[in-house]
């Protein structure tokens, strides 16, 4: 077991290395100044406190959606509505941030709880469609993303839009509603603590509770779980509900921490980024912050690269895809894995 997990770490690192190598090759082809561009990509994020702050800011929403996707994937539920749940969480938090009058601390908390409820509902729909009518949660969740995006835009456009602002944005949030900044000269906000709390709670839930155990068993082998008396229908529902809630918290936290008005014009894609984070972290909450930090680092590096050189930041999309495919590839480095297991077994044999 130990050598298996060591192998997983090695495989993840090799996959990342290959993806970065590919990045370098692409840059070599498209850029007039490949070395500068690559250096900006790799070292740019650490070049100043502001840039480092950018990594943390970007990592916060990724932690939430990464947790959201990983809890659903652990139950073997391919629900991708985290995207819509994140968005609607932001919309509902916006309503609360504009219309409520509450004291500081309480105000954002209420807004985030409401966002969590809204996000939970989004993912719950897919779960209910599945247990009631056996409709694939994958397809229904993809459709829900479009539906809730349009619903959110409708709410902002017809009820919360500030006609005096030039663009399609909401009224300003009440001052009390916004999450406060932690470190001067960066936009790192108190949402970081909420993210940390979610990681701990999710870990405890998955690995220290009966429900979490049932969830993981269902994910490993649903028939086996059923035969051993686990109510898998219940697992299907609460795993997706929990995923939606986490994504909703993420959307609400992001909106209240980073903006003073609602201004998303398209789906922010954090839900799909959550898939990348969950895969890098192998669906384990403990590794989610590391994976989110790494992905955020890559994004910020790419932004800096595109600002200073002639390479566009969308290149990251290609690197990410290769990372997902390689990390998720059972056959990647399979021979090496086999060797490691045989070696481990032999050593074990000698000892006993």
């Amino acid at each position: 077991m130990h050598s298996e997990s060591k192998f997983e770490v090695i495989r993840t690192l090799v996959a990342i290395l290959i993806a970065l190598l590919l990045a370098f090759i692409i840059i070599l082809f498209v850029s007039q100044e490949p070395i500068t561009a690559f250096l900006k990509l790799i070292t740019g994020p650490f070049s100043s406190l502001r840039h480092f702050g950018n990594i943390i800011e970007t990592a916060i929403p990724l932690i939430f959606t990464g947790l959201s996707i990983s809890v659903m994937f652990q139950a073997n539920q391919f629900n991708l509505a985290a995207e819509g749940a994140f968005f609607i969480g932001g919309v509902v938090a916006t309503i609360a941030a504009i219309h409520f009058n509450l004291p500081p601390v309480i105000h954002p908390l209420v807004a985030i709880v409401l966002g969590a409820v809204a996000g939970g509902i989004v993912c719950l729909i897919s779960a209910l469609l599945k247990v009631k009518w056996n409709a694939s949660e994958l397809v229904s969740s993809l459709m829900l993303n479009y539906i809730f995006f349009l619903l959110g835009i409708y709410i902002i456009n017809y009820f919360l839009r500030d006609p005096n602002a030039g663009a399609m944005v909401s009224y300003q949030f009440k001052d009390n509603a916004m999450l406060s900044r932690l470190i001067p000269r960066t936009r790192i906000h108190t949402g970081l603590f909420i993210a940390a709390l979610c990681i701990v709670l999710m870990y405890l839930f998955l690995y220290r509770t009966k429900w979490g155990y049932a969830l993981r068993m269902t994910g490993l082998n649903q028939s086996f779980a059923e035969y051993s008396g686990i109510n898998t229908v219940k697992v299907i529902i609460y795993s997706q509900l929990l995923g939606g809630i986490t994504a909703g918290i993420g959307g609400a936290t992001e909106i209240l921490g980073m903006y003073n008005r609602f201004q998303w014009q398209a789906l922010p894609q954090y839900g799909f980024d959550g898939v990348i984070v969950a895969i890098i972290a192998r669906n384990n909450p403990v590794f989610i912050p590391i994976a989110a930090f790494f992905l955020a680092y890559l994004r910020i590096g790419a932004d800096i690269m595109s600002r200073y050189t002639d390479v566009q930041n969308e290149m990251v999309a290609v690197i990410q895809a290769v990372m997902i495919m390689l990390i998720a590839a059972q056959g990647f480095l399979a021979k090496y894995r086999h060797k490691m297991i045989v070696k481990g077994a032999k050593q074990h044999g000698k000892l006993s």
């Binding site: 409709a135 994958l138 479009y146 566009q312 999309a317 990410q320 590839a329």
Partner: protein
């Protein structure tokens, strides 16, 4: 409601249904062929998007429409091969592989678009060709019927023709039989000497060809340019259409038309006093309803855990 009827019961509306069904139908046929070989192609959305872009680029740089079409197909096939290589040879979960492909495509197309056209939104600086519209002799002179069925883009006719071709391919050729055998029972197929992996690889490549056609239609027929994420979920809708059509070519064509109807409705209703957001929701809501109705009919005794059985 009278207003609604006056929109639906017109020849233009019938024409619009066929027009907007075309990309969904291509993608649904692509979904069908890979599904029948037992591989689910979630990456259709991304494959189609890439095809739409490579088509425009090929056509703009060669000045030839047909090279544009070939480029679109090649773009689709290359993406499909990438998915096939990872899922069949490196054993990447095909759902995750498909998700990765879509992510790659939505960012990658913008990256390539900027390299070629120095724009991150739309390819208007590239002068690409547009597939011609074709009048069908005799039929075009029949009132109403002619207005609905004649004068479509040539790719629209190819899309509907592909339904027949795929039917013949799947049910009347040895290769089609092998594909169905692999999809039906992989182990049984392997036991009679069929190379399962090769058949599935081939099915994914064919699925890339069809999605490439769909992409070509999007950027060189439906409109005459490429714009970011222009496929707008059609690849996903096609998956639902294929599932509802129970994996048969004719059934899938009918369900594609159903979603085409919803899509056309949402285009036509833009003129009514309904918030645009709700009108735009129609195709997506219709897809969920369709999925529920379909799945409910074949409700198994218990809820299945694996995706493969419920998609």
């Amino acid at each position: 409601m009278g207003n609604l009827a006056s929109i639906i019961f017109t020849a233009e509306f019938g024409y619009a249904i066929l027009r907007v069904t075309t990309p969904i139908l291509f993608a649904a046929m692509a979904a069908l062929i890979s599904d029948r070989a037992g591989v689910i192609n979630i990456g259709l959305e991304g494959i189609m998007l890439m095809g739409a872009l490579t088509g425009v680029i090929g056509s703009a740089f060669s000045g030839s429409l047909w090279i544009g079409l070939i480029s679109a197909i090649l773009g689709g096939v290359l993406m499909a091969m990438l998915l096939a290589y990872f899922s069949l040879y490196l054993k990447t979960d095909i759902i995750l592989g498909g998700v990765a492909l879509n992510l790659m495509s939505s960012g990658g197309t913008i990256f390539i678009l900027y390299l070629v056209a120095h724009d991150k939104g739309i390819s208007s600086s590239l002068k690409s060709g547009v597939f011609p519209q074709v009048d069908i002799p005799l039929i075009k002179d029949i009132p109403v019927v002619g207005e609905i069925f004649s004068g479509h883009n040539i790719l629209t006719y190819i899309a509907f023709l592909s339904v027949l071709v795929i039917y013949i391919f799947l049910y009347k050729t040895p290769l089609g039989l092998r594909i169905r055998a692999v999809g039906e029972n992989k182990d049984a197929a392997a036991s009679v000497g069929i190379n399962v992996r090769r058949i599935q690889f081939l099915a994914l490549v064919l699925s890339g060809v069809l999605a490439g056609f769909g992409g070509a239609y999007m950027s060189m027929g439906y409109v005459s340019w490429f714009s970011r994420n222009m496929t707008a979920g059609r690849g996903f809708i096609a998956l639902a259409a294929e599932a509802m059509g129970r994996g048969t070519p004719l059934g899938t064509m009918l369900t594609s038309l159903l979603f085409g109807f919803a899509d056309a409705l949402s285009n036509s209703l833009q003129s009514l006093r309904v918030p645009a957001e709700f009108v735009q929701m129609i195709p997506y809501i219709a897809t969920i309803l369709g999925l529920v109705v379909y799945s409910n009919q074949q409700k198994p005794k218990k809820v299945k855990g694996e995706m493969e059985e419920s998609v």
